[in-house]
């Protein structure tokens, strides 16, 4: 079967019940989708399939003959980051980075279907994605920033409006 990944068409050798996650990571060497749980519970494996976000660990590759898959590598590269990639960098939305690929894909799909900077709507769109490091706030900040059309200075990290400054000693 054929599978187009980030614009390149491959002839897939793995069996039809192999997960798309395994095919991407083990057969095609596309490692941005992660094996966080392999049961669809964490979202670290999410990729775009014909533009829609889908858990690659739950997808039998045989169901995708002729489909077009996009992973984070296809969103942008260091020298040409997408707005979301810039936003995540500037807003400190990644700490360990393991959930980041899935978050970016889900966010990309959300914005493509007209998502706004409404925080509840963003949360709803990213509901399938677990992050253990950031507490989610900055991820939502980053997605909202792109929805608003902000531009990003990547030489500094965005200020944290929520922080309390205890100031000098008393």
């Amino acid at each position: 079967m054929n599978l187009t990944v980030n614009g390149t068409t491959h002839d897939v050798e793995s069996g039809p019940l192999a997960t798309l996650l395994d095919v991407l990571r083990e057969e095609l060497g596309v490692t941005s989708p992660k094996a966080g749980c392999e049961q669809g519970g964490c979202g670290a494996c999410t990729v775009l399939v014909d533009g829609e976000p889908q858990r690659s660990c739950l997808t039998p590759v045989g169901a995708l003959d002729g489909a077009s898959v996009t992973t984070v590598e296809g969103l942008g590269a260091p020298e040409s980051l997408s707005p979301l990639q810039q936003a995540f960098t500037h807003h400190y939305a990644a700490q360990c980075g393991f959930c980041t690929s899935g978050m970016l894909i889900a966010a990309e799909a959300y914005l493509k279907r007209g998502g706004t900077d409404d925080r509840e709507a963003i949360q709803e769109a990213l509901a399938g994605h677990v992050c253990r490091c950031t507490g989610y706030v900055k991820i939502i900040d980053a997605v909202a920033a792109v929805a608003r059309g902000d531009s990003f200075d990547l030489t500094v990290t965005a200020p944290s409006p929520g922080m309390t400054n205890l100031g000098g000693v008393s």
Binding site: P16, L17, R55, C57, L58, P60, G62, G128
Partner: protein
């Protein structure tokens, strides 16, 4: 095991039916959200897998007041029924998250076996309340029967679609376990038909979704109906909640649903 499996991708309902045969030794894969992890973790090693993603069963047909949902219809698509069948749409959108709902199918959700740790089959609730008819094939050919009956004998059957009449009003109430993912502990669906009949069903029980017939008989008195509902069901302890907790919250959900139906009247 995955190498030894015969994997079939029927491209039409007829082909799916033909490959299914009498259902012996066939593992049906709808979207894959339930079956794939079982394979990954080595708990399931199918000899024959029937993947329905291309079988054209992902239909949502509305003909007048009659609605037919193909077994392969992604759960997310039930959002389209938000106006006409509120309970079904609300229930559907309460399942997992957007990505899972795009992939999970009505058939997979209805036919899911009992979960190892937590209840499955959320859509059974509203569809039982809607008195949906299930069309399936198997060893004894094609048959259409009330969903309630189908659920009890679905081993060896391939579900093709479910059909129901649009209700005059419907309501859905659920308790979700506050968690990273909000799993549904207990849910009640209610329907008032065009002829004024009230139907209630619950999911999150020990076993399948169940009609709450004692509660239906007492529907004019929501307090009594709530208390009666407990008699209709078998409750269990699981990873999400205890039978004790469910026994106390079931009447509350019944009350809520009946209240909403009353308001909609």
């Amino acid at each position: 095991m995955t190498q030894a499996t015969e994997v079939l991708f029927p491209t039409s309902a007829d082909e799916a039916v033909a490959h299914f045969g009498d259902g012996s030794d066939v593992t049906v894969v709808g979207g894959g959200t339930i079956v794939m992890p079982e394979i990954t973790y080595g708990r399931l090693a199918p000899t024959k897998a029937l993947v329905l993603s291309r079988a054209g069963l992902d239909t949502l047909d509305v003909a007048g007041t009659t609605v037919t949902l193909g077994a392969g219809l992604p759960v997310e698509r039930l959002a389209a029924l938000a106006q006409d069948v509120k309970a079904l749409a609300q229930c559907a959108l309460n399942v997992a998250d957007y990505e899972i709902r795009l992939q999970a199918t009505v058939g997979g959700n209805l036919c899911a076996g009992e979960g190892r740790d937590a209840p499955r089959g959320d859509l059974q609730g509203p569809l039982l309340a809607l008195d949906a008819q299930a069309r399936s094939v198997g060893a004894d050919g094609e048959s259409t029967e009330p969903l309630e009956g189908f659920l009890g004998r679905r081993a060896g059957r391939l579900l093709l679609d479910v059909t129901f009449e649009k209700p005059a009003a419907s309501a859905f109430a659920a308790i979700d376990y506050a968690h990273t993912h909000e799993y549904t502990v207990l849910a009640v669906s209610g329907v008032r038909t065009a002829t004024g009949e009230t139907r209630l069903a619950a999911t999150g029980l020990a076993g399948f979704g169940t009609r709450l017939r004692s509660a239906e008989a007492a529907a004019s008195d929501p307090e009594r109906a709530g208390a009666a509902a407990v008699a209709d069901v078998s409750l269990g302890d699981d990873a999400l909640a205890s039978a004790w907790y469910r026994e106390r919250t079931l009447p509350v959900l019944v009350h809520r649903v009946l209240g909403e139906l009353e308001e909609a009247a």
